[in-house]
Symmetry: none
Subunit: 419 residues, 2 copies
């Protein structure tokens, strides 16, 4: 009897001493988790265990107590360290049997390479009796799916280039066939700037507590805050509709800080708006030292909207290369709103762009001109005139630089949005 996917519990067990030594990262667990989430299957645990039969056995016994689907990666190869299927067979009281098509695949593999097949390679064609074999189109060791006492055991080889296509082509149809309800899990990420993670969470606390579908998950990263909305539904349309409702409530509370969605970044959103409006941008950077230019030019096609920029890291460069009047610097210092405005205006003219943004500030570790670390001025110049914004940032030097660069892009974004 099939049951709904909603209450199915899965876990992933990776077998390999190289993972425990930190020689490689457990990217398979991340890949499988992502794909299982899309299938609506909840993953509750990842475990990594070495190439040791006793410890693997203990891990399997634990997993049997709590999971409906147990996915194994690694330990299916030819060497004596590879003991995943042997251990599972022993725990389940099953034998290993030779799988003829897999044996032929292995023989073909050696023949094609003109190599003699060593005896230990025969072992790779052995599968747990009664299992559904998952073919390996990119290697020798086949995968397996075995159902014993309502628990599904799925075995995959360790190399991602073998595991990924095997999972996508053979395991997904197998898993989908198990469950009656074809659930869709769909996520939407809301991207915020100018509001901290904890303030954001506080403003949404009651919603986060109340909502279980879609779930609302805040996360802070790279000086930004994000909210991931994840809905489980019968169809994509239904999931989207569920997300729209919660999103509207979030927007009504903190909408002014939302600048983008999903894979957007401040640079990509600014680039898109510039492209849509057929405008070009230039930058004059002091304390961000080229970071804004780099963010913009890391995107393909940036030459359409980015004219270039000047990193004026010294007073000499500000005056002689960029063209800031020396009396402005003499009167207000290199870190001032007036200097920021002049930097933006000069860049606008030199690059003949439609909008120019500038940053001058103290990234640290030491204060400059008696201004404390974190003092930052942003200038914004267009044909209509120029304005400046002041900030007081904190954190390490790279953090101040990153946040100053993002604030500069955020001001360009707001200007573009008002056009």
């Amino acid at each position: 009897m099939k049951r709904g996917v909603g209450n199915v519990k899965a876990e992933i067990i990776a077998v390999g001493t190289e993972l425990l030594l930190g020689q490689i990262s457990n990217t398979n667990a991340q890949y499988l988790s992502k794909r299982l989430a899309e299938l609506g299957i909840d993953v509750y645990f990842h475990t990594v265990v070495g190439d040791n039969s006793n410890r693997l056995k203990q891990v399997i016994l634990n997993a049997q107590e709590r999971s409906d689907i147990i996915l194994f990666t690694g330990g299916l190869g030819p060497t004596k360290d590879d003991l995943t299927k042997e251990t599972i067979a022993s725990v389940l009281g099953k034998t290993l049997v030779e799988h003829q098509p897999s044996m032929e695949n292995i023989e073909r593999f050696f023949k094609q390479r003109g190599m003699e097949m060593t005896a230990n390679n025969r072992k790779q064609a052995h599968v747990v009796e009664g299992s559904t074999v998952l073919p390996n189109d990119h290697g020798m060791a086949p995968g397996m799916a075995i159902l014993v006492e309502n628990i599904h055991y799925l075995l995959f080889p360790g190399p991602p280039r073998e595991l990924i296509p095997m999972f996508d082509h053979y395991a997904i149809p197998y898993l989908q066939s198990l469950y009656q309800e074809q659930f869709i899990v769909h996520s939407k990420v809301l991207r915020f700037f100018g509001i901290g993670e904890s303030l954001l969470e506080e403003k949404l606390m009651d919603l986060i507590d109340r909502q279980s579908n879609p779930t609302i998950a805040p996360l802070a990263n790279e000086a930004e805050a994000t909210i991931r909305l994840t809905a489980k539904a019968k169809s994509l349309a239904e999931a989207n509709q569920m997300i729209v409702g919660v999103e509207a409530e979030i927007e009504s509370r903190v909408g002014q800080f939302i600048y983008g969605y999903n894979d957007d970044s401040l640079a990509s959103v600014v680039s898109r708006l510039l492209r849509e409006k057929a405008l070009t941008l230039t930058v004059a950077e002091s304390c961000t030292g080229g970071l804004i230019s780099q963010m913009l030019t890391s995107l393909p096609g940036s030459s359409e909207i980015f004219a270039g920029g000047i990193v004026s890291y010294s007073s000499h460069a500000k005056i002689n290369v960029l063209g800031v009047p020396s009396d402005i610097i003499a009167e207000t210092g290199t870190v001032s709103g007036e200097t920021a405005k002049a930097m933006a205006t000069e860049a606008l003219n030199q690059f003949e762009a439609d909008v120019a943004v500038s940053v001058t500030g103290v990234a640290g570790p030491d204060p400059t001109e008696n201004k404390p670390v974190g003092t930052v001025f942003i200038g914004l110049a267009t044909e209509q005139g120029c304005q400046s914004f002041s900030l007081q940032l904190s954190g390490s030097r790279p953090n101040i630089q990153l946040r100053a660069a993002k604030y500069a892009l955020f001001h360009v974004y707001q200007w573009l949005n008002r056009l």
Copy 2:
């Protein structure tokens, strides 16, 4: 009573639903595993569990049955999802107490940003009673080390930029103090540029196979290759002596590709040499779009050696802002050795620097001027004249940009080294 480190069993428990959803990878487990291996501490299990107190509790009870050291990552933040220390305290029958220095650190954090501290942030300063606090130099949530019934519990925040320095500076001395045999584990990283990881490994294969102390571990990262030499010895002097021997052998084979050691980067080595020789550098960037400037200015004190630069992303900017003669571009194109030389020469003059480096090329995804993606020219100009270098790089756009920027810095490095 202390015992030898040889038979100590450790495991790592990562707490975070985002790991089980596959949104992020468990890089912390890999980092900790590597470092623990260097300390001679065997890691037997990794576990990932979601932000759920009951399941975390089960995982802890399991770990207590089998491990001497249990390391936790994640779940120390301000939100209600963060429940690692609460759950551990409950399992151990301990209370949470406010840690005054951590509270002051958090208050300072908010004050510096001119932000009001929300109530949920106070929670971050709570630690399990009786624990040794591991300070967080890069964030708000402190780490902890607690000894209960011969098991050491070590708690770390989830963000790698907080966890890594906390582990290196505070947890390693703590762990080393636990065991009788005071052997020192000492590493030295050799940094290579201009040679691929597989060629490097091939040239050192016999050494890598033969050597077990120091170990020789090659790693490729960020378009560079590195070799980590790790020696276990009774004293730092002894470890250093062991490393020197192997290092000399490596240098005799591939020394021309070594540009630095340990935390060096091409930008830091170039900056140091410029500072030593009291010289200044400027850059003219096209396809790297500000990346070289950003690499240099991300280092503190860069204003002493970096005059600034121009990102000339369009022909207009190359001709009108930078001053490249338009006939050079008309005759040879924007991506040519001649243009690269002119870019460097013009930047040298405008910024009145001692050395200028330029990059022009095709970062992709589309070819430019019929030149294939990956075509890159680097110009190097000094008072003595200028020269150009051509490269054919492969890979994605960000990879081509990164490698082009590093080649540019490598040419500056080689020039500085010859002075």
